[in-house]
Symmetry: C2
Subunit: 306 residues, 2 copies
């Protein structure tokens, strides 16, 4: 194999209760990427379509992730990367993660899979470090492993795949204002009370249990964020109204996708997820804010060959 | 039915990563209790064997729990309670919880089970409030529901049963110094850093996943407490040595049971759990500290009729 064409999925990080640890992989929205072997050593970004992003390898998240992987392999094989961006940068659904994940997934395929998807996370994280200043894994883990992932630990990296109930759908509404990941992290408080932390880890345990038990009601009760949402949501116009609209339309719960400004909702079944999308969309009518809406099944595969 | 004799199990609260939310039910150690209908309305403690505890209903945890339950039922039925204490008070394996849970379990049986085990937790918690000043549920939930329990939320109370891998055994070593629950809670810091909280809820998610997946290695990696153990363990003599001994003998992990001073370890299989018991016990040889040791399968039933 000399070249692969790849679907690089968008992802929902945090999933309300699981700040920095939980993530979900989407199916109906993602980038495409071509990764090609080259006779010249090194990694080159040869084309970027759909976004104004740096072509220099060391300034592009996919370049940084690819180089990290090749260094670990001590490989001199050269690669060229073409990126067809469909996920908007700064949307909060893992735009940079899709590029980081796609690059290492593609190279892994072309080199005969020296790494498992979970092992690729460590390299894709280096792209995230370039994008946001922090090597977080809660987008690249679901983008690579698929489904729902838990980053149990960062040191050492320990990614756990969580099963996904078959009727779980995500709705994502992206109000097109820019919130940079770095800014969105800056509003976070460095300290919290033990009582709020207990609420949060109770909900992480509840959410994970709900996923294993196919218990949509338990998932719904666990989709609560008492720590990050209260401070971050002020950056997102009409957040409370959108959340209320999602609940009225039958969503299991909703919250900020990653560092925002996208707002996600989870629903049981495609029909409800579509109703939820309509209800969430309606809130932005006449607001002057352009929005983009996605309804997606949770994608069990992560990055895949096209 | 006019009277029931009950086994009221000891329990391990917190389970390292899940402060105030996780609990495990033990099988080989617990109190016994007789609950009997009486023609005189009200709840009376008629006998306490094996411990010097108050006989007054409003000062005894089982009395308080029983009264809370009868008030909710608006019942005038009278009850007499005999308590045969085997779990030492202040040991950190749910001595007060066993009495609170046993009382409401017994009354529930005699009244034709108006409540599910999970519903009984709210009443047993009132006994815990008397014992420690806080109505925590992480001992009474496993004592009533059995197995492993997650208290997802306190307001409203939401108790989730987590499956237990069939070969999971607990070892508990009780160094017989007294650490009062109220004192042990007083050393806790009211605030923590977001980064430590993230580690903790990653581990809660990992532990719960490991239990569902029968993944003993994942359970082992998740048995980590970066918040409470560092401050509480200073109250327990030889804690670090006991922990190291448990690890060397093959335990999956170990930590403080509830508010201590008991130290628990989890192991795969009875044989390893017994070796772990020997290794943990050895640390206290010639220390001048008397110890009590228990090896127990995780009890799937909670309180049961004898």
């Amino acid at each position: 194999m000399e070249a692969v064409k790849i679907f690089c999925p968008a992802t929902i990080a945090n999933v309300s209760c699981g700040f920095d640890v939980l993530g979900l992989c989407l199916d109906s929205v993602g980038d495409e990427m071509v990764v090609r072997k080259s006779d010249t050593p090194g990694v080159r970004i040869t084309k970027i379509d759909g976004a104004d992003l740096p072509m220099e390898t060391d300034k592009n998240v996919s370049g940084v992730a690819a180089v990290a992987m090749l260094e670990a392999l001590k490989s001199n094989q050269g690669f060229e990367i073409e990126i067809y961006k469909k996920i908007k940068a700064g949307s909060g659904i893992g735009s940079s993660a899709a590029s980081s994940a796609g690059a290492v997934f593609g190279i892994n395929e072309l080199l005969g899979k020296p790494f498992t998807p979970a092992e690729l996370v460590q390299f894709a994280m280096q792209g995230e470090a370039l994008a946001s200043g922090t090597a977080h894994a809660d987008n690249v883990a679901p983008a690579l492993v698929g489904g729902c992932t838990l980053v149990r630990s960062y040191t050492p990296l320990d990614v756990v795949g969580i099963p996904v109930p078959s009727e779980l759908y995500a709705t994502v509404v992206h109000p097109q204002i820019e919130v940079k990941t770095a800014d969105s992290r800056a509003v976070l408080k460095k300290n919290l009370t033990l009582s709020k932390a207990i609420q949060q880890w109770g909900n992480v345990g509840g959410f994970v249990s709900g996923m294993f038990l196919n218990d949509y009601e338990l998932i719904a009760r666990s989709l609560e964020d008492v720590i990050v949402e209260p401070v971050r949501s002020v950056l997102i116009p009409l957040f409370k109204d959108v959340k209320a609209a999602a609940a009225s339309a039958g969503a299991l719960g909703s919250g900020i996708s990653g560092s925002g400004p996208s707002i996600f909702a989870l629903s049981k079944g495609a029909e409800t997820a579509t109703k939820v999308a309509e209800a969430m969309t309606k809130v932005y009518h006449n607001s002057g804010i352009a929005i983009e809406v996605h309804v997606s099944k949770i994608n069990p595969d992560g990055c895949k060959l096209l």
